[in-house]
Each structure stands twice: as structure tokens, then as C-alpha cells.
């Protein structure tokens, strides 16, 4: 059966839907230039369950839950649910940790970097330059035979773990809903001010997440792969998807009056150019070494990829580390230990890049 989403026009349509959807989510309540941000939203989830206690970024983001469950639905519907894992999980975990640390120095994952650009935030240009540089370093390692090794086929239960965890988090959110001005309902933390207190209506967020999860699974949409394939193979397939995302988000932002060009005073952003770029060098390298942007890792988790699930958990732990240890930036600038963390993260990723190889067995079957 032909997969229409995997065609050139398919990936462009998916990018356009994500871009327009993200701009709409912002219009309906999500934070500025953050209609969707996988890193930020996973960070908010880490806050909602109390892994960190940064009061302004605590919310059980339904979009992320929808991403995983929408992808799961697509994978089941099209018989692509393949429980698998065992490709250097501990390495993937720490790639997730450092990807998050880097993203939170910039204040956004690649998805948000594109959306910030589409909202007129000039600082996003530095982040995107850093992202491309990080992915470029990753492609050098790939060319030299970098590999995290082969996955194994696993029993179905293994593939259901992360979708089940996110489904359970959603149930918790229904049992302990947000109440205006209340910092904690039952066991879940909520922000009463700041980005964590800005959110689109629950039903809208869930449906947007499910739809994007479904079409992204079908199309293999990936914001890191977009640049990787362009650098490595001069292939524009995935890249055309992210271009469509930026254009459609930009157009919808213009229509809704959300396009505000400039560098200073941008929502949830700082203007320390070097560290905007360096944070994304780290994140881009970590994503490239792990084989997918944070969104793609969620979609892969939905199709049963246990290694991607480990990366997702690494990112959530990374968010907790970032906020507990003062690594994350704020609109005032980088955190007290953010720069040290980026340097350490880059060193760790370089060691992983140089050392992780597996003997290639191309010939006999």
C-alpha cells in the first residue's frame, strides 16, 4: 500500500499542518512562540510530577501525551507497531539528558526554534545555526561509522510501556485537574503564573497532539533528520517538511497578529547569542547521535521503539537536572551553571561519537 504521507507533498502537508496547528495552539493559550515545543513541554511534565520545582514551568502538557498515543494509533492501524530495543539504551538515556540541557540553554527544541523564527524572534537564527552545526558534527561521526548498534525484537509488552506511562499521566491529569490559582491538585503540580500557566483548552491540546502524532508517524517527520539528510545525502525530503512548517506557522502568525520581529523582549527567550547557538550545538549533536529530534523520539516510542522511549525519559530527567542544578536559561539569560553544562555535554557527546562503533557485517546473511 502506498503511504501518501511519505511522498514529497505528504511531508510538506504534514509540516504545514504542524506549523499552522502550533500557531493556533499559541492563539488559544499556549505560551509565546511555543504553540508546540517538545523540550519545553517535556520539561513542564517533569515539573507537573515534581521532578523539579521551578514554579513557572509545571503543567502536564496534553500535546506530548497526544504525540505518543497518536503515533501508537497510526502504528497499530498500519501494522507498523514493532516492539524493539536494546541498542545502547544507557547511551541513549544520557544523549536525552544532554539534549534537554542544551535545548534549555537555548530555550527550545528544534520545533520551537522554527516556531520562534516564524514568530519573528531573531534569536532563533542563532539557535538554528547552532542546530545545523551540531547536526553537521553528528554527520561526521555517522560517516566514520558511528553506530549505537542493532536493536532486538522484543515482546509486545515492551513496546507498550511508554504509551502506557503517558496514558496514565493523562488519567492523572483528569483525576487531579488544574484549578485556578492552585499550585497543587492531589499529586500534580501546576504553575499559577509564567509559561506553565499558559495553555490551550485541554480538548484542543489533546486532539492537536493526537492528530500530529498520527500524521508525523506516517510521514516520519523529523526536524533533525531534515538537516542531517540535507548535509549527508543532499536530500531535501524531510527538509521540505520543516520549511513548510516555518512558512505555515509564519503565515498564521501574521494573520493572527502574532508576528513580532526583533531580538529583545521576545517571549521566553534571551539574547545571549553565543549561548543560544552553543546550547543548540549540544542539542543538535545529541539528537543526531540518537537518530531523531525530540518529536521523532516520541513518535518512535509510540511505534514500540524502546530505545527512543529511553531517550524520552532521558530528556525528562535532563529537564529536572537542568532546573534543579541551575543549568536552564530564563529570559534574564543563561543559568548560573548553564555554560559549564554545555561544555561538559559537548565533551560527553564527542566521546560517544568517537567511541561508539560496531563491527559492520554487511556481507553474509
Amino acid at each position: 500500500m502506498k503511504n501518501v504521507f511519505a511522498t514529497r507533498w505528504g511531508i510538506i502537508a504534514v509540516g504545514a499542518v504542524i506549523g499552522a496547528g502550533a500557531a493556533m495552539l499559541q492563539y488559544l493559550g499556549n505560551p509565546g512562540n511555543m504553540g508546540i515545543c517538545v523540550a519545553c513541554f517535556e520539561r513542564d511534565i517533569a515539573g507537573a510530577v515534581g521532578f523539579h520545582r521551578a514554579a513557572v514551568v509545571q503543567y502536564m502538557r496534553p500535546e506530548i501525551i497526544g504525540f505518543v498515543l497518536g503515533s501508537l494509533a497510526a502504528a497499530l492501524a498500519f501494522k507498523e507497531f514493532r516492539p524493539r530495543g536494546g541498542s545502547a539504551p544507557i547511551v541513549r538515556f544520557f544523549l536525552g539528558v544532554f539534549a534537554m540541557i542544551g535545548a534549555l540553554v537555548f530555550l527550545g527544541c528544534p520545533w520551537r526554534a522554527m516556531l520562534r523564527l516564524a514568530g519573528g524572534d531573531g534569536n532563533a537564527i542563532l539557535g538554528l545555526i547552532g542546530l545545523v552545526a551540531g547536526v553537521w558534527i553528528g554527520t561526521r561521526f555517522l560517516k566514520k561509522g558511528y553506530s549505537l548498534g542493532r536493536t532486538q525484537k522484543l515482546a509486545p509488552a515492551a513496546g507498550w510501556v511508554l504509551p502506557a506511562v503517558f496514558a496514565a499521566l493523562f488519567v492523572l491529569m483528569l483525576i487531579y485537574p488544574r484549578a485556578e490559582g492552585v499550585e497543587k491538585t492531589g499529586i500534580l503540580f501546576y504553575s499559577v503564573k509564567g509559561p506553565g500557566a499558559m495553555y490551550a483548552p485541554l480538548a484542543v491540546s489533546v486532539i492537536a497532539g493526537l492528530v500530529i502524532g498520527f500524521i508525523a508517524q506516517r510521514s516520519r517527520f523529523c526536524t533533525m533528520g531534515a538537516f542531517r539528510d540535507l548535509i549527508l545525502f543532499k536530500q531535501v525530503h524531510l527538509f521540505s517538511g520543516v520549511v513548510a512548517l516555518v512558512i505555515s506557522a509564519g503565515l498564521v502568525n501574521l494573520i493572527l497578529g502574532q508576528f513580532q520581529p526583533g531580538f529583545a523582549g521576545q517571549p521566553v527567550a534571551h539574547t545571549q547569542h553565543v549561548w543560544n547557538a552553543m546550547g543548540m550545538v549540544l542539542a543538535g549533536l545529541a539528537f543526531a547521535l540518537a537518530g531523531g529530534c525530540p518529536g521523532r523520539q516520541l513518535f518512535l516510542s509510540g511505534e514500540g521503539d524502546g530505545d527512543a522511549a529511553i531517550f524520552v525519559l532521558g530528556m525528562i530527567v535532563g529537564a529536572a537536572v537542568s532546573h534543579n542544578f541551575g543549568l536552564a536559561s530564563s529570559p534574564a539569560g543563561v543559568g548560573p551553571h548553564g555554560i559549564a553544562a554545555v561544555v561538559i555535554g559537548l565533551a560527553v557527546c564527542l566521546v560517544i561519537g568517537f567511541t561508539m562503533k560496531q563491527p559492520q557485517t554487511g556481507g553474509a546473511r
Partner: protein, 74 residues
């Protein structure tokens, strides 16, 4: 068909890198590529076609896809 590329269990872009590398180095005008995810199947097909090769057939053997690829006649 002597040349085979076994990219099962590997995630992108490695199957594509392996297939393109084999195409570049091989004297053969045809080979087999084994992958085990739909994404890899699509990516390898897309990549070899951009190099002037054709995907002759795709066979599903259990969890494995076997792609027969052939250099297109000039």
C-alpha cells in the same frame, strides 16, 4: 545475486549509508538490501532511486523487508 546489505536492526540513517556505500563500491549492477522497519524501507528506496538505481521488488519475509535493487540501464 552476490552483494547483500544487512541493515536489519539499524536505525536511519545507517541503512541508507550502508546501501549507498555498497552502491558506490560494488561492481555489481544489482544487490539485495535487508531492513526491518517501514521507515528504513522508504528511506533506502528513496536514496537508491536518487542514485539512478531502481527498486525491482520488495518482499516481506516475516519482520524483514528484502529490497532487490538494480542499476537502471542508461
Amino acid at each position: 545475486m552476490s552483494q547483500t546489505v544487512d541493515a536489519r536492526g539499524l536505525s536511519c540513517p545507517q541503512p541508507v549509508l550502508m546501501a549507498l556505500d555498497a552502491i558506490k563500491r560494488s561492481q555489481e549492477a544489482e544487490m539485495e538490501v535487508f531492513v526491518d522497519t517501514e521507515a528504513s524501507r522508504e528511506n533506502v528506496s528513496r536514496a537508491v532511486e536518487s542514485q539512478g538505481w531502481k527498486v525491482e521488488s520488495i518482499a516481506t519475509e516475516g519482520e524483514t523487508f528484502r529490497l532487490e535493487i538494480r542499476k537502471a540501464a542508461k
